[in-house]
């Protein structure tokens, strides 16, 4: 239990005042001596409240908690109720301290969820190992990471082999193997071997800092509920003050009621009605939700996305790399087709080209290949020894007036090739559906009221249909050019009542990710482009994170609703009771501070998911 110096000071004051109060209460002092004796503990706990109240009035802010506490306790002193006055002030201070403590504690525990970066790093300078703070290490320096240490900065492994625990970033507990020339990301824990790493990013731009930055700034993109609460409390306070004035003045003036009674009730009304509990606990719940998500490798960029997710009824998925692993394997090929496709595609970063080149596994005569042009969604053309070669889909080759055999198979992913104007065979590729894909779709439909699931892909229709059937996706759109994906998304956005979620791999899905109500990028472990474009980033490739994310969103919303209902119900009941005159200062303080603490604790429940 770590108290700040301010909090410790408060605690001492409260304790001292309490002891003094008890001492004075049981002592046999009378009249003036008694008054002065009670004023001492009162001063210890109450003086700063009185001063703050006067200062606030000076700034034009009259009716707040400090004013009420001042008036109430001064009033009690005037009425001769010395012990009550001091008690009330102590009780108020205790409550405020608890509230303050609860807030600090919750801020800390959420921050601890994301305690990703280590305080020290070992850097090799002039042949010796120095232990320094990661922020002092520049790009290009060499750091040494021993087993058990956290990786301090992003870099490239120069020497060594080890396994990494990426749980802090991805929530995944299976260790990843890492070796020479592999990229390494900060935030992971090095498990088995010593690694020598050349840094590629400084501590400001390392993955860990960027993630922390994102999650912290996520509390700024406020959910609609948060904005509503802020606006609500803005209008609500003047209304309550007016009612209080009414209560304080009307019954005594018009109905000859006792002034003391009604002024007291008016004051209690003001204390009970303080909207602090709402204004603190609602944003805190969203922040806890975001923090919890990040603990499991899900970066949510704003509370508003978490909220929208609970209203999502349409889930759209990209195929390659999202539903499938994205690494194609060459199943079979015609005689020269693989060679031609590899020659044409060796520079391309398209998943198909990469698998083809890998399968070719032979030297590529770069000097013989010229004028490579890649056409997105279609294919690649190039010149081999001056003669044109083509590799791409059927429409692409038909556009180039290649005559194709009439019986080309249409059930698999196929790259058709041509050489010098003549068809030269096909390469047949297989893409693997992710093992958790079916479970994910089922869970979304069964547990999270998802009405429509859609698959969008540039791949062939039969392949897309087969995949959809396999995992249970309702609607398929295949053979799409990138811009067509956006168009289809637009149609779906307009036709569906709930929110639309698009999940893709980020790099070439940026426009669709941006246009969807919620854009989720997958496998973004270090990919800057994905982190930029998406609203939510899944740090690993696991589709199962999506239903889990929905679970977090739903729990957050539930906690928020619980808190709002609880706070308003308690306050309203106490307000009525105090109107009738059945409450005391104690219950008024509970309705203000106690309620806030309970709401804060409830918000922290979010972390046990």
């Amino acid at each position: 239990m770590n108290l700040s110096s301010h909090q410790k000071c408060e605690l001492i004051r409260i304790a001292t005042a309490t002891l003094l109060l008890i001492g004075v209460w049981i002592s046999p002092l009378t009249e003036t001596a008694r008054l002065i004796a009670f004023l001492i503990p009162y001063g210890i706990v109450g003086l700063d409240i009185l001063i703050t109240s006067i200062r606030h009035i000076g700034h034009g802010q009259i009716f707040d908690e400090t004013f009420l506490m001042s008036i109430a306790t001064i009033g009690a002193f005037i009425l001769g109720e010395y012990p009550e006055a001091v008690c009330v002030m102590i009780f108020f201070k205790v409550g405020t301290l608890f509230e303050d403590f609860a807030i600090t504690r919750s801020r800390k525990s959420i921050a601890e969820l994301m305690n990703l970066s280590p305080e020290t790093a070992t850097v090799l300078r002039n042949g010796t190992e120095e232990i320094v703070h990661p922020s002092t290490i520049s790009i290009g320096e060499t750091i040494v990471i021993k087993p058990g240490e956290k990786v301090p900065l992003d870099g490239l492994v120069r020497e060594g082999e080890s396994t990494l625990d990426t749980a802090a970033l991805t929530g995944e507990s299976i260790p990843r193997h890492i070796g020479k020339n592999d990229e390494i990301i900060s935030g992971c824990i090095n498990l088995t071997g010593v690694l020598t790493v050349e840094t590629t990013k400084s501590s400001e731009t390392s993955t860990v800092s960027r993630i922390l930055e994102l999650v912290e700034s996520a509390s700024v993109r406020k959910a609609k509920t948060e904005q509503f609460i802020t606006r609500f409390s803005r209008y609500y306070t003047p209304i309550i003050v007016s009612i209080a004035v009414f209560i304080a003045l009307i019954p005594p003036l018009l109905f000859h009621q006792d002034w003391n009674d009604w002024i007291f009730r008016a004051l209690m009304l003001l204390v009970i009605s303080c909207p602090c509990a709402l204004v603190i606990s609602v944003p805190l719940s969203f922040f806890a939700g975001i923090g919890t998500a990040s603990r499991h490798g899900i970066l949510v960029k704003g509370g508003n996305y978490l909220e929208s997710l609970t209203k999502a009824d349409t889930f759209i998925f990209d195929k390659t790399g999202t539903i499938t692993t994205g690494t194609f394997t060459v199943a079979k090929h015609d005689k020269n087709a693989l060679k031609i496709a590899a020659y044409a595609g060796y520079k391309s970063s398209h998943p198909l080209s990469i698998s083809i080149v890998q399968a070719w596994n032979n030297p590529i005569p770069y000097t013989r290949i010229q004028n490579i042009q890649e056409y997105s969604g279609k294919g690649i053309s190039a010149q081999l020894d001056g003669k044109e070669i083509l590799a791409g889909n059927i429409p692409f080759l038909q556009e180039h007036n290649i005559i194709l055999p009439s019986s080309l198979p249409n059930t698999e992913t196929v790259v058709v090739t041509a050489h010098n104007g003549v068809y030269s065979g096909c390469v047949y590729l297989h893409d693997t559906v992710k093992p958790d894909a079916q479970k994910t779709i089922t869970a979304l439909k069964r547990d999270y009221h998802v009405k429509k699931t859609v698959l969008l892909t540039g791949d062939r229709k039969p392949v897309a249909d087969a995949v959809s059937r396999q995992i249970g996706i309702d609607e398929v759109h295949a053979e799409l050019l990138p811009q067509q994906k956006v168009a289809i998304l637009e149609t779906l956005l307009h036709s569906q009542t709930g929110k639309t979620v698009y999940t893709g791999d980020g790099i070439n899905d940026a426009p669709v990710l941006a246009r969807a109500d919620i854009g989720i990028a997958m496998g973004a472990f270090g990919s800057d482009a994905a982190i930029e474009a998406a609203d939510i980033v899944l740090m690993d490739d696991s589709l199962e994170k999506i239903p889990f994310l929905c679970k977090i969103a739903r729990k957050t919303k539930n906690i928020v609703n619980e808190n709002i209902v609880f706070i308003l119900t308690v306050k309203f009941s106490f307000l009525i009771l105090s109107g009738i005159g059945l409450t005391t200062m104690w219950s008024a303080i509970f309705a203000d501070v106690g309620v806030a603490i309970i709401a804060i604790l409830n918000a922290m429940r979010m972390m046990h998911i």
């Binding site: 200062r55 993109r221 802020t230 603190i280």
Partner: protein, 69 residues
């Protein structure tokens, strides 16, 4: 320009809401969002408003200090 500030000793949730509202009303400010939880202020503004912000903060929460990040 986009500027981030850290507010220290921001104790009261309603005060934070008041501060945010007042800053949003300043001329030149296009967007202002204050998170009570992280005690950070994210500001998008066309003019230099730091002094005005300091005044607002001091008026509503006198113990609160502002530092630029």
């Amino acid at each position: 320009m986009k500027i981030t500030y850290r507010l220290n000793h921001l104790c009261c949730g309603t005060c934070a809401a008041k501060i945010e509202r007042a800053i949003q009303k300043l001329p030149g400010v296009t967007e202002a969002s204050l998170s009570f939880i992280t005690q950070k202020l994210y500001l998008e503004t066309e003019t230099e408003v730091e002094d005005e912000i300091k005044k607002i903060v001091h008026k509503i929460e006198p113990d609160c200090t502002l530092s630029r990040i």
